[in-house]
Symmetry: C2
Subunit: 190 residues, 2 copies
DNA sequence: GCACGGCTAGACCGATCGGTCTAGTCTTCT
DNA sequence: AGAAGACTAGACCGATCGGTCTAGCCGTGC
């Protein structure tokens, strides 16, 4: 690395990470900048240096970061999948594991970060683009597994729709098995 | 009516109605009491007379009101339904119509009101009970249509999971047809 | 050595938050 | 008529909100 990056997380990354966690936990409006600043261990001046538009900017960065992470999980899930259902199943199990780690209290990492944000139209467009990247990543695996582009896109959407609803229900019931049983709900018994 | 209720909406009802609308639109944390008060045309004193616990109390009332309304839509949808799929389809069409009325900007009426609220554990329990009432109402129709209690409950949950995810997607795409195509997504082509 | 820009540091700002409290009005009962 | 309670009305409160601004640190290039 020829850039000046240090080996430990940069100030900017610590801000994004803290914001992502807190926005997911308490929502965008429910999170104060002071909380983010405290958690990241960063003074206010630094925030407005790295994110000139303040909180809304931070929300965009958090949405991007989240999308990237989710796509990574999707790619991992489908890497060795013999068919679509296996890929979806692995994805659901991975996310169920995450759900348990998060203590069942957080909002859905995808939709909580991408849909609850500033009223700013700019953020909405940003979030929509991030979501489209996620759908496209999943659809790509569908195509690899032999689906037509249209069918793959539809299947990816259905998967995300079901995932979002399942996470919400899981959160209310405080039980991650709702997530693990999503494939059965969507595609019937094996 | 022997009670002292006037024929136009009471102060309390106006507060609940305004709060429901605003919470759905901007979220619980994103809505200020002053907005609710202004929209309802009610002074602060009245709010704390009718809802001693303030905003959290209002959120509970909004959740109750929403659940009641949704159950009414569910009952209407299944009244003349020959089978489960028809009932779900009618429900989705009714909600799609509501979606269009709301200008595609609001959160899902069910989940937005029931899941985004005060951190208060009391509210969570309240919202969970309200959601269970909704699930039970739908499951009842499933049983009437010949399902076993277990199957009906499962089908009702699946429907709500799909509905929640579909509304979110519809909101992002600004298109209500995502809601109308939910039955096809869930149960395949007719 | 020293000027300069990237970045940190936090005091400070007006606005708004949810909530309290007192005063006053209106209805109803005796 | 008059007392009591339900309800309205809004001034007021401390806390916290997101955001601005100045001062200073620190590494780099001249």
């Amino acid at each position: 690395m020829l850039t000046g990056m240090t080996e430990e997380a940069s100030t900017r990354d610590r801000l994004v990470f803290a914001a992502t966690r807190l926005f997911r936990q308490r929502g965008y409006d429910g999170t104060g900048l002071s909380e983010v600043l405290f958690e990241a261990g960063v003074p206010k001046g630094s925030l407005y240096h790295h994110f000139p538009d303040g909180k809304a900017d931070l929300a965009c960065a958090a949405a991007d970061w989240t999308a990237t992470e989710i796509i990574r999980v999707i790619d991992d899930s489908f890497r060795a999948a013999p068919d679509w259902r296996h890929g979806v199943t692995t994805f659901c199990y991975k996310m169920a594991k995450l759900f348990d780690i998060l203590n069942s209290a957080d909002a859905c990492p995808i939709f909580g970060l991408l849909f609850e944000g500033p009223d700013h139209e700019q953020f909405r467009a940003h979030a929509e683009a991030a979501f489209d990247r996620i759908i496209a990543a999943a659809a790509r695996h569908g195509e690899t597994l032999g689906m037509t582009p249209g069918a793959a896109h539809e299947a990816a959407e259905t998967c995300m729709i079901g995932f979002q609803g399942s996470w919400t229900l899981a959160r209310m019931r405080r039980r991650s098995d709702v997530l693990r049983s999503l494939p059965q709900r969507l595609y019937g018994l094996a």
